[in-house]
């Protein structure tokens, strides 16, 4: 009797563990379905056209006469901010990872890793605040811009936010290269730099790609910092000193004012679907790159 009860308890607990195990999958699918569900009624909406959504830069969701729902300018904003930030973050992150993993003595290495970790812990709203108060001041002083909240400001913040991810994942990738590779290179008379450049970079290529991709994914999805620091104009930027609005910032700025079930509200959810798909593709490719590396 007691034994049967124990068996039953075990079965219950194992079922619970299995349920929790697949919970992450349930949540990811659930997020996608829920966000899709709210956007779904757009299908029958005469005011909304999918081609206009992707190809128009006109976004007048609250206009009385001509409502327009084009997010092209926001897509351009998202990608310009993110790509500019990656141009800064990828080389800086990889360089810093090379220093930490190859040139640094063990004791300072631990301290530097802790500092990078603290950098990663800074909340995005604090970055946004720093963008409003610190970087915007610097941009006005050192460039010709009249206003400091613009594409450059957003990109600098995003670079600083995604750099810790790149550093720590790239450092892991360097660590995963077997020491025998380093020893073989040193035995041939290579300096540490030659070893890094000719041996470690090619050997850790997949891990480094995944690091940059995950940093990219983080930067695309970032909301508060770009909402506060990138200037909010719905235009396609022509220079790095132009203000932009990203897809994420657009949702954050307008969701509060869009009444539930309105077309405006549904279009914002559709933007959410688009963002979900973009980050999904980026993260999935990072995951596949990591997997390929593990297998080889």
């Amino acid at each position: 009797m007691w034994r049967r009860w124990r068996k039953l308890k075990e079965a219950f607990i194992e079922a619970l563990i299995r349920l929790c195990g697949i919970s992450a999958t349930i949540f990811v699918v659930g997020i996608f379905l829920f966000v899709c569900r709210e956007a779904f009624p757009l299908r029958h909406n005469p005011d909304f056209h999918l081609t206009e959504f992707f190809l128009s830069i006109q976004w007048y969701p609250t206009s009385e006469i001509t409502k327009r729902y084009g997010v092209l300018a926001m897509i351009a904003g998202t990608f310009s901010v993110t790509l500019l930030s990656m141009l800064m973050a990828a080389p800086l992150g990889l360089g810093a990872a090379i220093y930490i993993s190859e040139f640094c003595a063990p004791r300072p290495r631990e301290i530097l890793k802790v500092l990078v970790e603290l950098l990663a812990a800074i909340p995005s709203v604090v970055w946004g605040f720093a963008g409003l108060t610190i970087t915007s001041r610097l941009i006005v002083r050192f460039t010709s811009a009249d206003v400091g909240v613009n594409l450059l400001n957003g990109a600098v913040l995003l670079a600083l936010m995604s750099v810790p991810i790149i550093v720590s994942l790239a450092e892991d990738a360097f660590k995963a290269v077997p020491d025998s590779y380093r020893e073989a290179a040193i035995a041939l008379g290579a300096t540490r730099w030659q070893t890094t450049w000719r041996v470690l970079l090619p050997a850790a290529r997949n891990g480094l790609t995944a690091a940059v991709l995950l940093g990219f994914g983080r930067a695309i999805g970032e909301t508060m910092a770009v909402l506060m620091a990138s200037g909010h104009a719905i235009t396609i930027p022509h220079s790095v000193l132009d203000p932009v609005r990203t897809l994420t910032a657009n949702i954050a700025a307008e969701l509060g004012e869009a009444p539930a079930e309105s077309t405006h509200y549904q279009v914002l959810f559709l933007t959410g679907v688009l963002l979900f798909l973009i980050t999904f593709v980026v993260n999935l490719s990072a995951g596949l790159v990591i997997r390929r590396e593990r297998r080889s």
Binding site: C20, S23, V28, I31, V125, A252, L255, G272, N283
Partner: protein, 295 residues
């Protein structure tokens, strides 16, 4: 002549080495300098407002004066509830992934889902929270909706660090326990989880720091600009009420409150940073202690 004299070739090589080393160091400095610069500037600007009263009084005069007590308590509420929800689910999910899952296509999909859940943009989590908890589950704009959204968002942190902790428990421990006739769950409960406890704790601590700083997911699910609370009580909010939160407070102070003294948003930012750094240092300290004990 000295046989080991450095030839021009070797000199060039060493010069290149030194150059590369300094370049890499320079890149690292480029990353860390803003960290110190920013924290220094925030603290400097915040100095006039950094008093004990700031933490214990409510904002007054349309948030232009006074402190942040309701926001601070609101953040504690959100963090505690999301922690209570995310910890058990996250830990058990990690147990499944390390102790039960075989390498099948299904479990590969689960692994990819964990990676993707960590990558979903925070604003999409907000949309989900709004659609699922506020409207579909009819929890309304409330602490509960906001906490549940935060819990889902921060769960991957717990899964990742618990998993690492479970993987570091040697397989021989489990085998020894199985040989004594213990079942799978008994082994996990008696051997694996206690040995991984500290690693799990690190994950939980990191979850706290992540949840405390998030703004976008709570902005549309339960956090408000301003809410008056009973002074003097320790638990002023009910779970179906909206609340203030530090991160949200910083956002509204800096973008939607004209004429506020610079020191107040700065002090809020410093408080938020201090909270997050304190929590993270605890996690780092715990990890260092464990590593030194493990050696």
């Amino acid at each position: 002549m000295n046989r080991f004299a450095t030839t021009p070739l070797v000199q060039a090589k060493l010069r290149q080495e030194a150059l590369a080393s300094y370049a890499a160091l320079g890149m690292l400095v480029c990353i860390l300098l803003p960290l110190f610069g920013m924290v220094g500037d925030l603290v400097w600007q915040a100095a006039p407002s950094l008093t004990w009263q700031f933490l214990t009084t409510a904002p007054t005069h349309g948030m232009r004066e006074g402190g942040v007590r309701p926001a601070f308590i609101g953040t504690l509420y959100l963090v505690t509830i999301s922690l209570a929800v995310a910890t058990p689910i996250g830990v058990l999910a990690a147990v499944y992934l390390t102790e039960y899952a075989q390498d099948t296509w299904f479990n590969r999909a689960v692994n990819i889902a964990v990676l993707n859940l960590a990558g979903v943009p925070s604003i999409v989590h907000a949309l989900f929270g709004l659609g699922a908890f506020v409207y579909a589950a009819q929890l309304g704009y409330s602490i509960l909706s906001a906490s549940l959204t935060l819990a889902i968002m921060t769960m991957p942190v717990i899964i990742a660090s618990t998993r690492e902790a479970l993987l570091s428990v040697p397989r021989s421990y489990r085998e020894a326990c199985w040989n004594l006739g213990a079942s799978r769950w008994q082994t996990i409960r008696a051997i694996v989880l206690p040995n991984a406890l500290s690693g799990i704790l690190t994950g939980v601590i990191l979850q706290v720091s992540r949840a405390a700083g998030e703004t976008a997911p709570i902005m549309f699910t339960g956090a408000v600009f301003y809410k008056a609370i009973q002074p003097g009580t320790l638990l002023p909010y009910a779970l179906d009420e909206q609340c203030m939160a530090l991160s949200m407070h910083l956002y509204t102070l800096s973008t939607q409150t004209p004429g506020v003294a610079a020191s107040i948003p700065n002090a809020t930012a410093v408080l938020l940073l201090g909270l997050v750094f304190l929590v993270n240092s605890a996690a780092i300290g715990l990890r260092t202690f464990l590593r030194s004990r493990g050696k």
